[in-house]
Symmetry: D2
Subunit: 433 residues, 4 copies
């Protein structure tokens, strides 16, 4: 037991009336909603990187956090894991997520990094035995080290592809060993800085081949989790190939992988791509590739990825409504790929940021569930499209331009528009949030 | 001969030294570049809508232009056509483009609109006999009338789908009759205002079916041109389904139409979607769906579609370089989907805006061609990826994660990054523009 | 009594439990909050232009609304006024706002427009006698007619300045006659399309002189209301001079008018300028120029002014918190410069959009008032700056760089950063919304 | 002589025909333009921070550059200075710029940092004696160290204000000692992350007082250079107080400093604030506060500060045209606050990035000068506003709303709009670039 969180109590549900900062006001893991415990609906995960490995730097300044586990040794990496599991326990977090680079010290060679990873994975495995917290997903950091500066699977240098492939293998092995529910790929530097030096066709083909190898390896080792791609349009690269849900869908179709791979969708990345979060979720659900979410927002006035904890529950309710419409999470969950602000120096800040994020999500889920149960919104949607359920409409869809023109002329069709009722539906929505 | 352009001479090439406002300084249609006449490279088209049908309104104000042909009669529509062909002649424009709504008065019924269109198409056909100007593409306006307020192919009302299908048939017939080189679909209101009332799955399926009917009809009537979709991310709708090149590619793959349909890519729409124009062109070329371009820019400081004439030749050179790399236009061309500013009231403004646009494009093409001929940029690009041409790299691509890991360990692979040379390539570029 | 709103009942407060679409769930005008009736806090106003004069057009399509009062006669203008007051009554709206162009038909000459305005103002005055609804503000439309295409006070043509000055005089007279609480200037086309043809210095000086004349006339006629400028960064112009709060403050200082003029701040315009709404409010309050608000939001994914009714109460609570901190409205109020979507065709849509907007604001106000009453946020803010209340800090502020350096050296000052506690404050906030 | 730039020749002007990468094609320092040598017009400066102190990190990755001088000792700081002057010599750079943190190692205390700075300033002074390169401006880095995480002059902790004031004194002393032509303040973290913990009024007042102290100290020590503020709207902070030119103007007016302080305007920051660069320059000139420029662009598709070397000469020509209109630089100049891309690893990249930037600026200046000399644009501008030069217009400006209304009625004024001729002016522009 470290003393990092000394004095911070375990967080329990006390209800909306509580004014205790160290309590949940909305997240009540055992409360049953639409027939399922809240914990099973939300499947919260803490992100190792932002919570335990990020020093607080930004492009204009360095480290602000002093953490006793900062440094590059296996011993410090274990201390970091100790503290992480203490926080998981404080929060009652059902899941965590990690990159290799978050949990192990970088070695001088690939072999050394691999050994370091294996040792830490064993250590984490032992800790998990004494904890209720499971692994939502693992992933490989293929963007921080300078070797990845021009990409990983899409690097002009085949040796970087090789390094990356070998790294992903190790991270998939680690994820499987720790019982992970998913394996995620975020293409941090799979993109370009300038078209002038870039071969788009080759890079896409290499990325497609890389992903196929990942899928093959999953089947080979019998990993039962889901392979997930996390879209992001830009940053760090000027243009990133996994731009948004629609782009990744096209990529998966191009390489015949749309049945094998789903998406991990982040609110902040949706915003950067010019979409609302609920759009990306609804689209992925509609395309059959909705997997998991990173529930961290961007600031609407900043043009970069601020990765903040969610705090606006009506917005988040729109997201959970789409997830409920899609049937809820299967292997996926709600990861906080969120960092506390670099001025939030205290251990309390780290804990309470998660408390606020979990509460906001729980409140949003409950609102979404109420509306889902009520059914009015879906009834209104169905009514709007009811004309398409007629035999005439179905026949038209099976016909041709000429046949349709003949009917328009013969029947003197002249459609009169009907109200879209947007404000009334927004009012309906606001009855539930 | 109307007197609208009275006093405006035919525009001829006078070279860079000329200070005559009414002359081309760069566009010399007969100059041979990379083995082809400049006119055949660029294939300029004038857009009927912005040049002859737009009254100068914006969301905060109404008509600014007084044009003698404004009004809703067939007679005025013919006067408009007369003026249009006079301008084509003044500019030596090889092509024009139109929507049905630009050229014919709206009728009270579908049948009347159809008759009006047929009469005007005959009139334009006769004018084309005495003109060198051909039709680059035709299209249907499925967004201005209130019946389309909730979409055309994606409307909740099947009767609007019917009206739209019948309209497209008529416009395809007109395009074929006038010898059009392409037929374009821009999904102006194929999208949504709010997810709350929208059925994404049904709307996408109806859009897919609609496009299939268009392709079927093309083959049925033996239209030899290309079917083109024009992507745009938003405006007028909050979200438009044909968001960008990558999105439309995914849509085409989803419905098995990626061999049948290509893209008409607009600079302004690329910008709105968060991309550079050259990105969209390079991506479309890489995916085999580059068709034609709308060479009108948006203002970088405005968040809506300003549809301005191009005026920055180094930027445009990046675009033409991608087109040259892709082998140049086949059926496509350079359309100006550009409107003069609503304060540009005079006939001279309309003519000179086109002169400036054509000159900017010609200057850009010449710069791009010089660099293309020089070959240095392509040599640098090939060198950057040369490692992928080795047998070892090819073997790696055909192998698996495990085999690659074994090799990384065995050979102690440890890649050292190499400079991406972005600034040097930008300098190289600047030698040619 | 027209039949436009036939069947729509008067809207009454029924409380959160109500599922009646035609009821307020949060807005209870007589409920006392922080010692003042809710109606007096919020001072809601209906905007004549969007609600009664806008036909539903956008840059890609025309009229969608069929209103019996559309047309250019005095008779129709009176019918429009009748309907407007019927809606004010249905909503129990305490205020309305208008432009001259919303309420009177445009005449062929200035004199005729003036007579039309006077006749309609008399008509409205009579209606107000039988109504509880008052005038929050009047304003002049100096942007829709083509004469204003290059600006009003900043037009290159002195005759347009003259027309604009005369028009504002008439609108100020009308506002005074109708007992308006404020007079607003929004510089719709006071800006430029291109710097190439613009004389920034002259245009600013003319704008300053124009505003001085407005202030002089206010004093001359004894108008007791507040003169307000409404900032907006762009649209319709590429650049608008009244960009944001900070810009207008500089303009007022430049012309010595910062004591005479305050601001009417719109959420949508704040967003367009890259600010949060609460930023603009807090800044205006800090500068002593907070006057009134236009509580209509923009869509975060659209780059233009969507003027939607507010629907996210936690966001609006941030706004009302700043207003409460500033002491609440004096002459200002909450105007809905909001338009229903162009697909919202029905009279119910128009009424219910206002109901939803009013309810969202009331809910936000109540949350803000609870936090204000609680005081925790202000206590935390004061604690953060407590160091500045010490005599040493005050002495330092009165000293010089050299004296400070001497002290830093002498006392070996070495400041240790303290947590900014952002997430904890966001959690605190969320306890109240 | 270090060997860092071994093999890189001194860069000389060879003219447009040259294909030598290591030559200027446009920058010819001695060429006379509008009566002044090109070098004196442009006054190029190399930025110490990006060129010699930046390790290549970004928010998703660490150091990419290996530089022999990286490290925290005085010896390495001197090596860095040696290399810097070697590059100044290679480029023939007339100026450089620095922050304290770029040139000296950070000490454990203020006193130690001060001593380090003094030692390095002496060292640089000695190097300057043997060099033609002068100091364009010095500045203090008040944003990178964690002590500044909540601001410098606007920090809630008075001790940070003290540290900052003492630091600025030292940097002003250093700048004066090295003969600097200006002293710059960029408010890196003068702003906020969240309004919830921020006291806008107090922070502004402290910032105003801080600036007054800087001005007082300037006069006290007899510094003849200009005090410059560099505006930026955001990044690193969510909101930065020195948002843009208009905002800083208002701030200066508020504290009575508009005659004492001018602006250093950066293209990238203009873009982030929603303005074109030329807008910010023209506005500053119009307000009498145009001082100097940072000629580094942002990427139009990225929402953060990319600080790239300029490469689009027509855009830059718009900037230099405004500078020429304003009479050219006096103490100011053209600083490259630009960093090579993090993939540009080689010494050649660093040199050639500057060569490209200088050439782009020179080409732009020459184009702007040709248009300036030609005079057509200014003639067109004057003609557009000619009406304001009449006695009637001047009398109107001196009159009142009532007098104007009387005249509008009496003379039946009815202004007819005239073309703004935007496209024709853009064509004119394009004749010169
Ligand atoms: Co992110
Ligand atoms: Co993420
Ligand atoms: Co467009
Ligand atoms: Co277009
Ligand atoms: Co607005
Ligand atoms: Co407004
Ligand atoms: Co910058
Ligand atoms: Co700068």
């Amino acid at each position: 037991m470290t003393d990092f969180f000394a004095g911070i109590p375990q967080i329990r549900y006390e209800g909306e009336g509580s004014s205790n900062e160290f309590a949940f006001r909305h997240y009540n893991p055992d409360e049953v909603i639409l027939g399922k415990r809240m914990e099973e609906h939300l499947r919260f995960a803490v992100a190792w990187w932002h919570s335990f490995a990020w020093p607080g730097g930004d492009p204009f300044g360095g480290q602000t956090f002093d953490r006793p586990w900062f440094g590059d040794t296996l011993e410090l990496a274990k201390l970091k894991a100790d503290v992480a599991f203490e926080m998981f326990d404080i929060l009652g977090a059902p899941f965590f997520c990690f990159h290799d680079a978050d949990i192990r010290p970088e070695g001088a060679t690939f072999a050394e990094s691999k050994r370091n990873l294996e040792e830490i994975v064993d250590y984490i495995g032992t800790k998990m035995e004494g904890s209720k917290t499971k692994l939502l997903w693992g992933t490989a950091n293929l963007f921080s080290h300078r070797r990845f500066m021009a990409g990983a699977a899409t690097n002009p240098d085949p040796d970087v592809f090789a390094w990356s492939a070998a790294t992903v293998k190790g991270c998939m092995d680690a994820t499987m060993k720790l019982g992970g529910a998913n394996y995620v790929l975020w293409g941090g530097r799979e993109g370009y800085e300038t078209l002038l030096n870039t071969d788009l066709t080759r890079e896409a083909e290499n990325a497609g081949r890389f992903l196929q190898m990942v899928v093959d390896y999953k089947h080979k080792i019998g990993f039962q989790g889901t392979i997930l791609i996390e879209p992001k349009p830009q940053e760090p690269s000027k243009h990133q190939y996994d731009y948004d849900v629609a782009t990744v869908y096209g990529f998966l179709k191009r390489f015949g992988l749309e049945k094998e791979v789903k998406l991990n969708i982040e609110q902040g990345h949706a915003i950067l791509a010019g979409h609302s979060f609920e759009h990306e979720l609804a689209l992925a659900a509609s395309l059959g590739i909705l997997g998991s979410i990173d529930m961290n927002r961007n600031d609407y006035q900043s043009g970069w990825d601020t990765d903040q904890f969610p705090h606006n529950h009506p917005e988040m309710a729109l997201a959970y409504y789409e997830i409920l419409r899609a049937g809820g999470f299967t292997t996926g969950g709600t990861n906080f790929d969120a960092k506390i602000r670099r001025q939030s120096l205290d251990p309390e800040d780290l804990v309470l940021a998660h408390v606020g994020g979990m509460d906001t999500c729980a409140r949003a889920l409950k609102a979404a569930a109420r509306l889902h149960e009520d059914g009015s919104l879906e009834k209104a949607r169905a009514a709007r499209y009811a004309g398409w359920e007629t035999p005439e409409a179905k026949a038209m869809l099976a016909s041709s331009l000429e046949e349709i023109e003949a009917r328009v002329l013969a029947e003197a069709i002249n459609p009169e528009p009907r109200s879209g009722r947007q404000e009334r539906l927004e009012n309906l929505w606001n009855r539930f949030v």
